[in-house]
Amino acid sequence: MELICPAGTPAAFREAVDAGADAVYCGFRDETNARNFPGLNFSREELGEAIAYARRKGTQTFVALNTFMRAGHESLWYEAAADAVQLGVDALILADFGLMAHVAETYPEQRLHVSVQASASNPDAVNFLVETFGARRVVLPRTLTIPDIARLARRIRCEIEVFVFGGLCVMAEGRCSLSSYATGKSPNMNGVCSPASHVRYRQDGSDLVSELGAYTINRFPRDEAAGYPTLCKGRFDIADAHGYAFEDPVSLDVMDQIDALREAGVSALKIEGRQRGKAYVAEVVATLRKALDARPEERRALLARLRLLSEGQRTTSGAYEKRWR
């Protein structure tokens, strides 16, 4: 299985390549990708250099153009696709049908991957994308169990990539407007979720309160580590209960299921985290690379090391296990 690794900056890109990524995915510095965060992402020139660096080391480069084209401003996405193709990316990761159709027609040779944002969660959906746009690989939404994936794999005609490590969307990706409901900025339209521009921390007595737009997302007592106010990972009041309504602030880790994923028919394992620093990328990629190449009995120790590194941070198998639902 391939290891697909994130890079938000050229520095992180080189770290990922050096640490053993089979492919690194990244995006341009604008709203054409779903990590349109300030200070992040690549200029055309930086992408060209990154691709050259990756080639020298036998690593592939994928470019995510995985937001939905703003009506009337489609040229921004079309130009991004043209430039990425011209610079020689190994695959484009797309979510918008209009953009997929454009790429399939204009650059029929270009390898097209379906982004998790497209929400292709069943065989009919995946085969539709394969038949209509010639998709070669689909990144599955984080809504499926491993048996679901195995069943799907038997019935589709393209490769499967799944998220195994990093941030976890609780909601079906590409189908969530929670962020724009509170801030006016959404993953689908603006490439941001719970954007920093709308984040505020406020001291209230001994509590630290995190706010997103006009809404309180969490409240941390003095001794508790504060979290970023990602909307679906906040604490809320529901009837008489209060707590994490959608999901605790946990991250995804299913590296202990590598063999099950391989048997299910998965071809590529994806690490989330283009917004994370190069130190994180280097450490996670290096460890997962070793784990992937190790014999199963050696794997446990390597993964324990990773868990040690993410101490204080709880992890979950997410939807890969049925009870999570």
Partner: protein
Amino acid sequence: MNAGKPMLTLGPVLYLWEGEKWRDFYFRIADEAPVTHVVIGETVCSKRLHFTDPYLPPVIERLVAAGKRIVFSTLALVTLERESQYVRSLAADSPYPVEANDLSALALLKGEPHWIGPFVNVYNAATARLLARRGASSICLPPELPASSITEIVSQTPGIGFEVLAFGRMPLAISARCAHARAKGHIKDNCQFVCKDDPDGLPVKTLDRQSFLALNGVQTVSFTCQALLADLSDLVGSGVSRFRLSPQDCDMVAVARLYDEVLDGRVDAEDGLARLRQIYPDAPFSNGFHHGQEGAAWIARARNLAHGANA
């Protein structure tokens, strides 16, 4: 395309209502509501299908007898094999047009006239035209879209009808996980259908007691209610041909009559909003998405007029 009078569509009931309540609701819609189209069928959770199945035949019969045009809704999130089967059987056997709410329905409906629901991501005309070429005759645009995008998409996609959500809590997210069941101490596989206890959604408040969202099983909807009464005429001017009223647990016949009167110009938008507040007092109104702002916001018409005057 937009020659006739704009029409009203009743969207599917997104919540889990007791079978008899559901049946009686549609009987009354059939008899009294000035809607031309009724989109019907479970959209949120496949586990709920058996609640309404027994009542579907009499409801369809009554709606058809009343001259309503039926469209069958499909599931917004299809992951399990039985969910795929359900969508396949609808696409193959439905005597009425089917509304696609996920990619599998899209795939299965190719080549026959169908509708596109608000859960399919149509953000631009390139996508709308692609869907139209595959047989879509109507698209209900996602609630997140601002007016500028709606205008652009409609003007650049001739030949099909466009619909906009004009009333109801906005669908914001859907998950494999059931927050509704979990809030009541269950997990999805053993949910005991607790979402039935909240026919208008279960309110989610912030820790500072701000009303924020509402849970509807695996779906999260806005706490606010989209109310585009004041924007109807502009949207009609942009070429939108139908407006969707999404059922809440209130007098939906009165809601439909009110929208019909405002569309006809018999009631002006301001008076209409005051009346709408009486019909559905449970949720504050919002129209922020439409104005390119946060979805929860309410942009008062007066401000728009002031902008217009200064322009």
